[in-house]
């Protein structure tokens, strides 16, 4: 079995020590860091995502695999830093203004990181300005907004309006989720996408980035 496959399989077992050692060994042998990332770490996470979707494994196993991915990423990141290719993309997430519920948003953050995305978590009670300014500064491709209260949902639309005013709607995709949010609501406020759980948020971001 080649090294890259072994990295992927160790990652799927959630063995972060093995992933770290094998990644170091692969770099010693002059393997291309991009290949280690794509065919080892991310390929392993893709398998994990699919097994999670069909209930073969559960959330804890996904997160253990994600932790193992970071053990590998820590090794190759310095080498990839120049090209900025260490992550699949960048997502700014937060619970919207007036809302302090963050369990769902946190889960989405954990899952996105697990899938190789860089996540900037603004926490809760996040204003439309903060979402847009951070996304701009960080050169993020996606803004992910979460709400639990029907009373605060309208703030999601304001963030999208703000993007529109700045002329950024084509560059920065806004996605929404949370218990009272629906596909229809997302369409109504002009969001690019709606995710109903952590996994669907990951799939959504994969399609957008």
């Amino acid at each position: 079995m080649d090294l890259v496959t072994r990295i992927s399989e160790s990652l799927q077992r959630g063995d972060n020590d093995a992933v770290s050692l094998l990644t170091a060994e692969a770099l010693d042998k002059q393997l291309d860091p991009q290949v280690i990332l794509d065919d080892g770490l991310i390929a392993g996470m893709d398998v994990i995502g699919e097994r999670f979707r069909i209930h073969e494994i559960f959330l804890p196993e996904v997160l253990l695999a994600a932790r193992a991915m970071y053990a590998g990423l820590d090794r190759i990141e310095p080498l990839l830093a120049a090209s900025g290719a260490a992550s699949r993309g960048k997502v700014v997430i937060g619970t919207i203004q007036g809302d302090l519920h963050d369990i769902g948003k946190n889960l989405v953050g954990i899952m996105l990181r697990g899938a190789g995305f860089e996540v900037i978590d603004l926490g809760n009670d996040v204003s439309p300005e903060a979402f847009v300014t951070t996304a701009l500064e960080e050169e993020a491709q996606v803004i992910g907004m979460s709400a639990l209260l029907t009373t605060t949902m309208s703030s999601m639309g304001q963030t999208i309006e703000r993007l529109e005013q700045e002329g950024l709607r084509g560059e920065i995709h806004s996605i929404v989720g949370g218990a009272p949010v629906s596909e229809d609501f997302a369409n109504q406020i002009g969001a690019v996408g709606y995710g109903f759980d952590g996994l669907s948020a990951v799939e959504l971001v994969k399609r957008l980035v």
Binding site: F58, P60, L63, I110, E183, Y194, F196
Partner: protein, 485 residues
Amino acid sequence: MRPQLRFLEKDLIERIISEARDVLGTLGMEIHNQQALKLLSDHGARVDSGAHHAWFTDEIIDRALSTALPGFRLYDVNGEETHDLSGENVYFTPGSAAINILDHETGTMRKPVTGDYVRYARLMSSMDNIASQSTAFIPTDVPDEVTDAYRLFLSLLYCSKPVVTGAFTIESFELMKDMQIAVRGSKEHLKEKPLTIFSVCPTAPLKWSDVTSQNLLDCADHSIPVEYISMPLTGFISPVTIVGTLVQHTAETLSGVALTQLRNPGAPALWGGSPAAFDVRYETTPMGAIETQMIDCACSEIGKHLGLPTQAYSALSDAKLLDAQAGLETSMGATLSVLAGINNVSGPGMLDFESCQSLEKLVLDNDICGLVFRLARGIEPRGDFPALPIFEELLRDGHLLISDHTLTNLREEHYFPTPVIDRANRSRWQEEGSLTLGERAHREVEQKITDWEPTGLGEMEEKELVQLMEEAARKFGLDRLPDRE
């Protein structure tokens, strides 16, 4: 602490047993089998052979109870132990001998054929919470005279689990016993490792037919486990009250225990039954009635008090479709049975007063069994004390999803049902097709049948089974067995 359900005070149990002994001694049982009558007479019972009647003495009953086993084990086709039917151990088995199956495609009940049975046996192979198969329904594409043996034949070919079954005639027993010997290799090996349980059913009130008594005696001779299935119906052929019905059930079942133990002391048997609260509005025998389920649990309490392992027909429904009633009656029965510690619970898959099996219901019921098994394990601390460290970890990390405590205990503490039980959020449910329970169950059925792998049955044994079955079928005019694939 294992949660337990009890209906009867000790004094009440003892009074019921004493009244049942009185019934057996004073009124006796009608027994249409000369061997059984002679056996009782040889042991001091008053017998009237002409009137097919025997009166049971206390000595006979005491003697029988002193040799009856407190439990026994079952072994699958490959000889692996699967059941320890004793104490509070609970196992489920599909309801048996239905005359119809519920066809998912048409939504209607119809007569089953060989292909249906093969699908059933394959499906049963992967029903993790249903430890044995039963000869669940009766294929109609072979002569009536061999249908009982034919079910066992198909079961042994396609599923390795032990089989809860029964013979419809005296002659069939021989063939069904020979099939088991073919699997085990010898009579002695079969005695050592029982493969089946035969249902033997007294006829209410207070009778044994020739066939069932003979089946009972034949099983005892070969140490093949039996379950006595007394079937009182409240207010119709037993007293309308639960206690009165318990007296009758106890009398009928004690008479079975006596016959088995006199014939072969120490032969394995379950104190079972299929009583029902007769519905005087519809003239039916509802298995889902709460009183039926209470009687089942109470019967088991009496059996356990007498030191025998127990059986009941529960975790089944009288609904005609896989609808809400099917789920509620089955769940209620399964819950009560597991809390009562009934050792072998016959029911999963069954609808319509024990007359219709449904593969889709079987996969739902497999999950219901999983849920109630979890319930039976109760609540106990698992590395929870002292509590401070886990809360410090929670506050530090913000979640416990990959905490060692979670990883160690998750799958022990929680039962995860198959997707037949819907736990997705509404959006995911919609995305996956807004499937009804019936559709999800059907998808599961098809998947499990596709994934089926052959059992460990040897080629020689299979050949012998086929030979035995073909010979028997030929006697009744069937030259070639129906195609099985």
